[in-house]
Amino acid sequence: MNQNIWVLMTGDSVALATTLILAALGALFTERTGVLNLGVEGVLLTAAISSFIAADSSGSVWVGLIVGSLAGALLAGIHAILAVVLRANQIVSGLALVIFGTGLANYLGKPYEGKTISVKLTDMTFGPLTDIPLLGPILFEQDIITYVALAAAVFSSLYLFRTRPGLEVRATGDDPATVDAQGLMVSTIRIRYTLFGGLLMGLGGSWLMLAESAAWHQAATTNGVGWIALALVVFASWRPIRLVLGAVLFGFTLQLPYTLQAENITFIPQAFLQMVPYVATLISLIALSRPGSTNALGAPKSLGVPFVRDER
């Protein structure tokens, strides 16, 4: 293989990883407070079409990114109300969000089917740095949101493990009763980070639309990235830095079929290449599992369990 294809493959992996990092970080914050939001796929789709419509009608990618992120937070807000306030079954609520979000996105996207967007998020260049062979195009020729996503992961790690509010987040997910006894409002913290998580997912979905796809293809726009993001959080044992590594790895498998096809390498049937990311995720999930306890992975201890204070 020549050098170009390697640049293409790794560069695209880093780029594709952006959505994964943002969506998975969103899920990570949500889950760290003990709320399981399985609705990522629906949130991504709704955010994607919202950003499409906003960017296309305003002519600005930034408006698109903001509107898309807010749409993500809004949808996550539904989950927050059901899961935190009304103590509904979080799994079913998340699934309902996927169905609702997919329907909503397809409904809103109907007039835009097959149309390409008029504006696009462009790659940044860093002059001489970009010209470095091999490394330059991989590291210094991405768009701004990719760098934002990487920075967000680093900051998230510092925030969660080095600050007081971060400690509160982790404590809420592990032991809400103690947090409550400390006089903090468990439900407020959970709602806040579910919304924040939705905002990050929304940014990820908008980026997917504005930088990667540029056209609305209904559910194929995300093609299961939301589910891979959820698996990625488990894969990363709820740690932001590991999450970035995993995202680049999964990003690599996601772009593989397209790059190989573009390079006319066709001895492996396309369908099997398309399976690679899902099978790879599946195998890594199984490999990380241990018999007996799921806590070996580092899952927040009250994940998916509504907090009920003993009320007098």
């Binding site: 306030v85 799994i91 309902a96 996927v98 409904y107 369908a271 995720t281 999930l285």
Partner: protein, 369 residues
């Protein structure tokens, strides 16, 4: 920074019976109301959309038979989801198990159909589809039971793999499942012996009655048999089950295999019914995902799944016909499904708790309370 009021939840010791009917009913109405607001906001006629959906879905003779025809597969994926959900096993990959069930059913139909009579072929194709659906969930079931790997993610990931398989079998030239000598990639029709004819002039097939009977039978299994009792004990209290010597591991695998088999059976009913061939279009229809909503709305009650399945089939079929009758995007049907489930989930809280809004006492008095 405290809100001036908070919600106080009081667990109901006994749920009034009227709430069992009222809450789902109000959920559906509330979802329709939210949908109406949404239609208005996006500039579509509420009256036209809903009246067309209702008449095409339920209140016309072709409408209701189309609905019952479509409900066959939806009830199947509904009981598939409900059967696993009731043991807190969230098989949400019914969609993929349905695809593989279709592939399997088609294979049995094509391979044996030329030589065997119809009364053997139909059960063979149905059972073949169910077995393949069960096979598709075997790995998630086994690792869930052995290693505790979340079945939610694994079953879902395999759905994407199954979708690629369906495409592979149709788009690859020279594939066994592909119609030979056809310009367009499309599936090869199964022989006549592996097909049922619709009832009269409708789109209903006799499989509808089989599936309804199967749902009632499963309802009986869950309520009245030792196996059903085991499932109840494990889902209520895994520890108690362990002390009672019930193997949660074995039951987990059994329940998941049955769940996958039911979803696969759903795929097979399509082959002996309206599809008659492996059709890649199936991956856009979302029948498996709809099963999750149907099960949740029926609160995992096998008999109630029949009702919620028919309700959803009506919404779906009425929604799909909107394309012809109005300019409203057909996706309003799926949106309403999601909305109904969201409202039903919210309503669940009112069924389980008495919810009261109380003023938060002034800061300070709370500490001494």
């Amino acid at each position: 920074m405290r809100a001036p009021f908070r919600l106080q939840f009081e667990q109901r010791t006994e749920t009034p019976r009227r709430l069992g009917v009222l809450v789902p009913l109000i959920s559906v109405l509330a979802a329709l109301f939210a949908g109406a607001l949404f239609l208005l906001a996006t500039g579509h006629s509420v009256g036209d959309t809903y009246s067309n959906m209702l008449s095409d879905g339920f209140f016309s003779s072709t409408g209701i038979t189309d609905t019952l025809g479509l409900s066959t597969v939806l009830i199947c994926t509904g009981i598939a989801a409900a059967f696993a959900f009731q043991m807190n096993l969230y098989n949400i990959g019914g969609e993929g198990q349905l695809y593989v069930g279709m592939i399997g059913a088609t294979w049995f139909g094509l391979f044996f159909g030329e030589n065997l009579p119809s009364f053997i072929m139909i059960p063979l194709v149905l059972i073949g589809g169910a077995l393949c659906g069960a096979a598709w969930i075997a790995i998630p079931a086994w690792v869930r039971a052995r290693l505790g790997t979340s079945e939610i993610v694994t079953t879902l990931l395999l759905t994407y793999v199954a979708a690629s398989l369906v495409n592979h079998f149709i788009y690859r030239s020279g594939s066994y499942f592909r119609a030979p000598n056809s310009m367009f990639p499309q599936g090869r029709q199964v022989p006549d012996s592996a097909m049922l004819s619709p009832i009269g002039d409708t789109k209903m097939y006799p499989t509808f009655f089989v599936i309804v009977l199967l749902s009632l039978a499963l309802h009986w299994v869950v309520r009245r048999t030792e196996f059903g009792y085991r499932i109840q004990v494990i889902s209520d209290s895994p520890r108690a089950a362990c002390y009672a010597g019930i193997s949660a591991r074995r039951t987990t695998v059994q329940v998941m295999l049955i769940s996958g088999g039911l979803a696969g059976l759903g795929g097979a009913t399509l082959i002996v019914g309206s599809f008659q061939r492996l059709d890649p279009g199936i991956v856009t229809l979302g029948y498996g995902y709809a099963g999750i909503v149907i099960a949740a709305l029926a609160r995992n009650n096998m008999a109630a799944v029949v009702v919620s399945g028919i309700l959803f089939a009506g919404l779906r079929s009425g929604g799909d016909k909107l394309q012809i009758s109005t300019d409203t995007p057909i996706h309003i049907g799926v949106m309403l499904q999601g909305a109904i489930l969201l409202f039903a989930l919210g309503g669940e809280a009112f069924r389980r708790y008495k919810i009261r809004i109380v003023r938060t006492p002034a800061v300070g008095s709370e500490v001494t309370a």
